[in-house]
């Protein structure tokens, strides 16, 4: 067992975890933050993306003990305190960037990480960045559109599909 202390969405938390407890299981089972999804068992789908010290990581491919002392942000930390959607979340809604919504938390966390480093990405840069995020519904097109819109760029040139 390991004693860990970390910040999650701006709140400090401490817990005792097993060595093998994955960060995603600690977030979901330990803290009840079930917005971070588990879409596969093979580290390939990207539904569980969270930010650890500002870097996007797969919460299913990191142990909870490795997050000791870290600042973690999950999808629950993306909206404002009053529940107002973040710019990225609002853009996903406005541009129909989701259908079933299962992959969306990971998509939003990936988009936030991309826009932090690259505020005005090209369509190709967005597609490259989302290589590790799988969506089975949308065909990605409206996700790309939503992220372009969230970056303040004109999306009218992007053909509807």
């Amino acid at each position: 067992m390991a004693q860990i202390s970390l910040m999650v969405n701006g709140k400090s938390t401490s817990a005792e975890v097993e060595g093998r407890t994955l960060l995603v299981d600690f977030l979901r089972g330990g803290l009840g933050l079930t917005g971070t999804h588990v879409g596969c068992d093979t580290s390939q789908c990207g539904a569980c993306l969270v930010h650890v010290d500002g870097a996007v990581v797969k919460a299913c491919s990191m142990f909870a003990f490795e997050a000791d002392g870290a600042d973690v942000r999950t999808i629950e930390g993306m909206a404002g305190a009053d529940g107002a959607l973040s710019t990225i979340q609002q853009a996903f809604r406005d541009h129909h960037g989701l259908q079933c919504g299962f992959c969306t938390p990971g998509m939003v966390m990936a988009a936030a990480a991309l826009l932090k480093d690259t505020p005005k990405p090209t369509e190709a840069e967005i597609r490259h960045y989302l290589e590790g995020n799988i969506c089975r519904c949308t065909g990605y097109h409206n996700i790309i559109k939503a992220i372009l819109a969230a970056s303040g760029q004109d999306v009218s040139a992007l053909a509807a599909e």
């Binding site: 390991a2 060595g19 996007v56 990581v57 797969k58 142990f63 490795e66 991309l114 995020n133």
Partner: protein
């Protein structure tokens, strides 16, 4: 996942001591090991995390001009911090896996695992880099010993890798469409003295290797045309659902030419 103990050393000496226990296993970025543990493909008694060891992290330039990268340095950090000194290596690091993998996966982890399709091994072999461990220095030529096999001893840790910096270089891979791992990947490098080196990943049953025939031709003339007439032998190439040995051998030629053109 099976149960295991954990250790979180903050220096290399403590990590080596923690790894002395039977069935102890080093945990670098975990981007291969953790999925393997989840699938119960490994059952270590203890995981020794290497991520809290500052002396294993960072990118710097040695006095002799070589680029030194700590074994615990993530791909994302290499992509950002090596860009100026060694653009070919930074570009390679920037296309490993996906963004989340690049934020956790490390140079040392990739080299210690030596997956036959891994991205870093051809860069290490093609530049003739030196691998510094907790106990010795290993030349790239001696380090890679076949698929998932290296010169590392039990419990030996890659502290740093020193890369001679070529004048021109590029990494090009032909991605297997489902996994995005290299079906064939080539790192081609030309050094200031005119010597050319070509290393290939993904293709051979023996893991990463140098294509010496191409090196000789490219050392005379650094141009894709210089190797247009060469074909890599299909013997010993991987044969699986994604490509036959002949197909992979053909790709080695095509991808090497592309890498030379891109360098």
């Amino acid at each position: 996942m099976y149960e295991f103990e954990i250790a979180t050393p903050t220096n290399i000496a403590d990590a080596v001591a923690a790894l002395a226990e039977e069935d102890a296993q080093a945990l670098a970025g975990g981007q291969t090991l953790i999925p393997s543990l989840k699938a119960r493909l490994a059952m270590p008694s203890r995981l020794v995390s290497l991520t809290r060891i500052p002396e294993m992290k960072g990118v710097c330039r040695a006095d002799d001009g070589r680029l030194c990268i700590g074994g615990g340095t993530t791909h994302a950090t290499v992509a950002a911090e090596a860009a100026e000194a060694f653009a070919g290596l930074a570009a390679l690091a920037g296309q490993i896996g996906d963004a989340a993998v690049r934020n956790r996966g490390t140079l040392g982890g990739s080299l210690a695992n030596n997956d036959p399709s891994a991205c870093y091994p051809p860069a290490v072999l093609a530049t003739g880099a030196t691998i510094l461990t907790d106990r010795r220095e290993i030349a790239a030529e001696d380090y890679f010993q076949g698929m998932f096999t290296t010169a590392l001893e039990e419990g030996e840790i890659i502290a740093e890798v020193r890369f001679p910096v070529p004048e021109a270089s590029a990494d090009v891979k032909f991605a297997q469409p489902a996994s995005r791992f290299a079906l064939v990947g080539v790192f081609a490098a030309r050094f200031a003295d005119g010597a050319a080196r070509v290393a290939v990943t993904g293709a051979s049953e023996g893991g990463v290797y140098r294509w010496r025939e191409a090196e000789e031709a490219l050392s005379e003339t650094w141009s894709p045309d210089a190797i247009a007439g060469l074909s890599a032998p299909a013997e010993g190439m991987i044969d699986d659902a994604h490509g036959s040995p002949a197909y992979r051998a053909h790709l080695v030629g095509v991808i090497t030419r592309r890498a030379v053109a891109a360098a």
